[in-house]
Amino acid sequence: MSLPRNIKEQFPLLSQVVNGHQIVYLDSAASSQKPAAVIEAMNDYYRTINANVHRGAYEIAAQATEAMESSRERIAKFIGANSANEVVFTKNATESFNLVARSWGGQNLSHGDAVLITDMEHHANIVPWQILSAELGFEIRWIPLTPDGQLDLTSLDQLLDGVKMVSLTAMSNVLGTLNPVREIADRAHEIGALVTVDASQYVPHFPTDVEDLGADLMCFTGHKMCGPTGIGVLWGHEELLDSMPPFLGGGEMIVDVRKDGFTANEIPHKFEAGTPPIAEIIGLGAAVEFLESLGMADIRQHEIQLTKYAMNALNNRYGDELTIHGPRDPDQRGGVLSIEYRDVHPHDLSQVLDQRGICIRAGHHCAKPLMKLLGVGATSRASMYLYNDESDIDALVDALEPAGEMFAL
């Protein structure tokens, strides 16, 4: 089964006209577009059952609670969690990482310990550890990369020495690289370390099963998977989450507050302080329902085909003038193409493409250590999702040439 041909019609934004051209949206790694069903689900919530959750005995409050908690169940199933209690709602993947670092790290890390990350991590999986390490004095270590942008695991044993947490991305948001999470997780577990997976670029595009991945904790974000802004997820094994101290304090996360202290609530509520992003949780539930209706395996197939098509088209047309960072084989990577084209600076390239309604991202993609390694300040990144098709790629390919002329040195 492939995806419906007219799938773009379900995304209102994709019919927008920008600078006289129907929009060509190739920036889904930064944020995806939203199907009407997701926008409508949030509308419906606000129009019919909007009320604060968990604490209200009246009808619409009960319905809001029910809608929120059934979203939690749907999301839990979607990622192969054992129970909805394993799904903690945050505001974005970044908060999820801060929760892990502060709560688990604060309890378990000290001088002499190490946390192992990789050279291709997003700042969300770097800075929270750096903040904590400045306080607690543990070491942050980095798995290096091979020249084609894969993890270089030749020294993994040495790197793992003294490591208590391995925290790595399942897929690079710059290189498209898919990492061997399971293999690394197995080796981490052998020495008693835990594994946190950054699935921000993975859950939106792949059938995901937390047990298959071998993760102990996993972070992802709603707005990259057809969901709204303002919602992220931390998944963790029940016993592990149970053992972790609270992160943010306030309402919802307590069973009792006395002047001399408080008693934390059970998971997942223990980690959800204050009024939750109720509409956003419901929106993310609708996004998961939408993705399930298409089928994650079909979405992945579609993206492999399109990545293959794009890599061929770019290489055939521009040969040596163009480099695509990361793995060559479209089966071994996601639909994220960081492109170097002649001497055109990414900012200029994306500006020129914008004149044709083509949206790509120019920048460091919140991966500055990786930029340094690549020896660039920024890359031009085109990234795909289920709603892109060959016409989008054709538009991109055609638009490079005039940009190249304009900025020829």
Partner: protein, 155 residues
Amino acid sequence: MPGLDDLYKEIILDHYRNPRNQGELDSPPAHRTEGFNPLCGDEVTVTFEISDNSLSEVRIAGHGCSISQASASMMSAAVKGKSIDEVREVTRRFKAMMSIHEEEIGSEASEQTSDEVFELGDLEALKGVVKFPVRIKCATLSWNALLTGLGELEG
């Protein structure tokens, strides 16, 4: 929607292709200051020498988009040999032009002090950048770095 021609004027592309005053002066004795654009990763290093209260030498290094490179090159040409006060004045004017409300500010200011020295000249070509707010930081990157460098001297 303004077109690309408003942004990429020929003179800008010329400065981009043939940047003036490229390189780095040894520091010390030269002063050195850096600027980052966290949005796009652009970096600029400005080194300069002061003698007799003037910017006797200036060099630009770093990497960035055509706008940040051209603006740095144009800046180097505009400030080289000027007195510190003059440098500050041209910077003030340039930044006023780059602020979203440039029209008003720009015209007011030029009525108050209509000294020839302070005409922006070639720099006027960068005026179109204001229509592309995301790029304003590209154009002002080197100017802000220079200002920081001058500030450090004094303080």
